[in-house]
């Protein structure tokens, strides 16, 4: 039986727990034995990407300690996984701490984004989900350009029973979130969001799906403000939904 440790990024844990719950339902249904190391907090992505790398180093140490020895680490967030895999090695190197460098080198290749874990590690694309709705998939920048997950999420979605996948115009365009960018350059971010919302509406789907709640928070924030009635769901929430049990998300 495969084992995996859940890496639930701070904003998923706090703001979007239903995405992590869905990931648990999904992976347990597929026979994965899960652990949740509860000393985990935040990977430090916001700090690293804003220039506060020194401040993020204790978070890196905490992450490495929390997940040491895990067979696999699975997260419902492409951007946090990208921080761990792409930024942690250089940060550890800069710290000069030999033990930390070794620990990071040993751990980070096993840190996987959900669609990578499902398709590459478990070897499944049909997870037995049922979702009778029209869906438009937003390939987030960090999932497609940093992790290069390619069409893994789409392959998973195509195998969902009852789903109607709608094409997204200009799918590869950034939604304009960019972490603290949305605060520092809020006007440009809002202009980018306006175009993304227009593209989502053009797709005429009921639901926008992505591999990251951060981009979905941004896109969903715009869709909600404009009263469009289009919902956002994490990929895990769609994949967790089955014909008899629903998504099993908490109330």
């Amino acid at each position: 039986m495969p084992r995996a440790a859940l890496f639930v990024p701070c904003y998923v844990d706090t703001l979007y727990p239903e995405a992590a719950v869905a990931m648990v339902r999904l992976l347990e249904r597929l026979g994965v034995q899960l652990d949740f190391p509860d000393t985990q907090t935040c990977c430090g992505q916001m700090h690293v990407n804003t220039g506060y790398q020194a401040e993020a180093l204790p978070l890196l140490r905490n992450f490495v300690a929390a997940f040491a020895g895990a067979e696999a680490v699975v997260a419902p967030s492409a951007s946090c996984v990208a921080t761990v895999r792409h930024m942690y090695p250089a940060m550890a190197e800069r710290s000069g701490d030999r033990g930390l460098i070794d620990a990071v080198t040993e751990l980070t290749p096993r840190v996987r984004e959900l669609s990578e874990y499902l398709v590459d590690d478990l070897g499944v694309t049909d997870v037995g989900a049922y979702f009778p709705h029209s869906v438009v998939y937003h390939p987030t920048c960090h999932s497609s350009r940093l992790l290069e997950v390619g069409d893994r999420p789409l392959a998973l979605l195509r195998a969902v029973a009852g789903i109607r996948l709608m094409p997204m115009p200009r799918a590869d365009a950034c939604c304009g979130f960019g972490g603290t960018f949305a605060i520092k350059n809020a006007e440009i971010s809002a202009a980018m969001l306006a175009d993304k919302v227009a593209d989502v509406l053009h797709a005429q789907a009921e639901v926008v799906v992505a591999a990251d709640n951060s981009c979905l928070m941004h896109i969903g924030g715009g869709l909600s403000r404009q009263r469009t009635g289009v919902r956002t769901l994490h990929l895990a929430e769609v994949l967790a939904t089955t014909e008899d049990a629903g998504s099993g998300a908490p109330a």
């Binding site: 639930v8 701070c10 998923v12 844990d13 706090t14 703001l15 727990p17 992590a20 719950v21 648990v24 949740f36 509860d38 985990q40 907090t41 935040c42 430090g44 916001m46 700090h47 990407n49 804003t50 220039g51 506060y52 790398q53 401040e55 993020a56 204790p58 978070l59 905490n62 920048c141 960090h142 350009r145 940093l146 590869d172 365009a173 950034c174 979130f177 960019g178 972490g179 603290t180 960018f181 949305a182 605060i183 520092k184 350059n185 809020a186 006007e187 440009i188 971010s189 809002a190 202009a191 980018m192 969001l193 306006a194 928070m217 969903g220 924030g221 715009g222 909600s224 403000r225 908490p250």
Partner: protein, 485 residues
């Protein structure tokens, strides 16, 4: 770099103003959208595009590692073919060299081939101090010059202007009657041509930049689309080329790679229309005097920087500008430099280091589109993150901020919270309580302070009652209880 005429505002403020210019956004959206689609088509049709990118990167890295060798080789080759090589530490030295050469010629007017490097050093303004007029002969550069503006794109300097605006400008600049000129692109080009032809025939001194320089033969390569550059390179008696030291390549065979990478990345053309090569001087053919000014201006310092040095691979194709969602919406002027867009956001802090440059690395969502299209594979997002680190932590060139900003305080406090699982869980509970005043009809609105930028155009769902970790623990506890029954 000169600052004359540029918007002196910080990036954020200048960008906010640019966003309100509906005509500008339409002009930019149209042009970048069209060139993006074309670039994708002409790069995807090549089976070996990624191999070409890797070759371009490898050749540049090799040359930069041995830069001193190739530059002295270039100097020897240029000199042996009748040219004169000058070395300039910075913009002031380069400008002084060119001014002295022009003064010695006695000319009051020089014609210019489109050149980013001479824009970078503010050569036109420096020549103007001596009463010398530098005429830009690239059509778009001419438009920008006549308008008294700054280029807003590396390759398409007048991208911010549409043809109706250009017609208005030409009517005034060439003193034409409105009946003599419509806004048809061919007519606009014809009007510029008749103005420029006279300049070409009169000019005795020309100034150019360089796209590439071949070290072993001393050959300069100029890549352009109009043929106006070739006029400048062949008709005048004296030719002065100003080039950044990173433009040198070892040999002609290296051009095979770059003459594929550059046109496909920049103008989305399979082959460049006008590619001129010249090596020193030849009796009775072309300029009788050739001067090559090799410009450092921060380049050797950048070369010494382990993270930043790959910036010097840049061949100024501007593919990164065309795909950048930030550039697409605000244009080039808010960057306050001749190098705008993603490459400008990493180049300016390294080459120039002006006060406003500290903001430029933050003019990005780190979406990575720039890295994906870069023909020499410059990892712009990673360098942006490094530049941001230097803004926060300070660097030899930029001392750490003296007083803490709101962001410093907030992010340092957050880091302390995240460093401890118990503080993190306490903060989750506090945030749930603290959000109450901002929840209206089930969404967070009108957030305070710097967060107001978010809530102006986006809703935010309130923090739910139970974080994931509580759900997990409760489920585990229930499972244990059920197991005990």
């Amino acid at each position: 770099m000169s600052g004359g005429g540029r918007i002196p505002l910080p990036f954020h403020d200048a960008a906010a103003l640019a966003l309100r210019d509906g005509q500008l956004r339409r002009n930019l959206g149209t042009v970048t959208g069209a060139i993006r689609a074309k670039r994708t088509a002409v790069t995807e049709e090549l089976p070996d595009w990624q191999a070409l990118r890797a070759a371009g990167k490898a050749i540049k890295d090799h040359t930069l590692r041995n830069l001193g060798h190739y530059l002295t080789q270039l100097e020897a080759a240029v000199t042996s073919r009748g040219g004169t090589v000058h070395w300039a530490r910075d913009a002031t030295e380069a400008n002084r060299i060119v001014r002295e050469l022009v003064a010695a010629s006695g000319e009051r007017e020089v014609v210019k081939v489109k050149s980013m490097t001479t824009d970078e050093i503010g050569l036109n303004e420096a020549l103007a101090e001596d009463g010398v007029v530098a005429i830009e002969t690239d059509l778009a550069e001419l438009i920008v010059q006549l308008a008294g503006e700054e280029p807003s794109h590396i390759l398409v300097p007048a991208i911010h202007k549409n043809r109706a605006e250009i017609r208005e400008l030409f009517l005034r600049a060439f003193e034409l009657d409105p009946s003599e000129l419509n806004d048809d692109p061919a007519d606009l080009a014809a009007a510029a041509r008749s103005f420029l032809r006279e300049r070409f025939l009169e000019a005795r001194v020309a100034v150019s930049g360089a796209n590439f320089a071949v070290a072993d033969t001393g050959t300069i390569a100029i890549v352009e689309s109009e043929g106006n550059g070739r006029m400048c390179l062949t008709l005048p008696e004296t030719l002065i080329t100003v080039m950044g030291i990173e433009k040198v390549l070892p040999s002609w065979r290296d051009l095979e790679v770059f003459l594929q990478l550059l046109p496909r990345s920049s103008t989305a053309e399979r082959m460049n229309p006008y590619t001129s090569f010249f090596s020193g001087t030849t009796d009775g053919d072309g300029p009788s005097a050739f001067h090559l000014v090799l410009l450092d201006a921060g380049r050797s310092r950048t070369l010494a920087d382990e993270v930043g040095r790959e910036t010097l691979r840049c061949i100024r194709c501007s593919a990164c500008l065309n795909v950048c969602p930030i550039y697409e919406r605000v244009g080039g002027h808010p960057y306050g430099s001749v190098y705008p867009g993603p490459i400008g956001a990493i180049l300016n802090p390294q080459l120039r280091g002006a006060p406003n440059d500290a903001e430029l690395p933050y003019a990005s969502t780190l979406c990575g589109a720039c890295y994906e299209v870069c023909p020499v594979a410059i990892d712009i997002p990673t360098i942006l993150i490094e530049m941001r680190r230097r803004v926060v932590e300070g660097s030899p060139r930029r001392p750490r901020r003296l007083s803490a900003t709101v962001e410093d305080v907030a992010l340092r406090a957050a880091a302390r919270i995240f460093a401890s699982p118990s503080r993190y869980e306490a903060a989750q509970r506090l945030a749930r309580l603290g959000q109450a005043p901002f929840v209206r009809k089930g969404v967070l609105r009108n957030l305070p302070g710097q967060l107001s930028g978010w809530s102006e155009s986006r809703d935010l769902r309130p923090i739910p009652a139970r974080p994931f970790r509580s759900w997990w623990r409760e489920r585990a506890a229930t499972a244990v209880e059920e197991g005990e029954k």
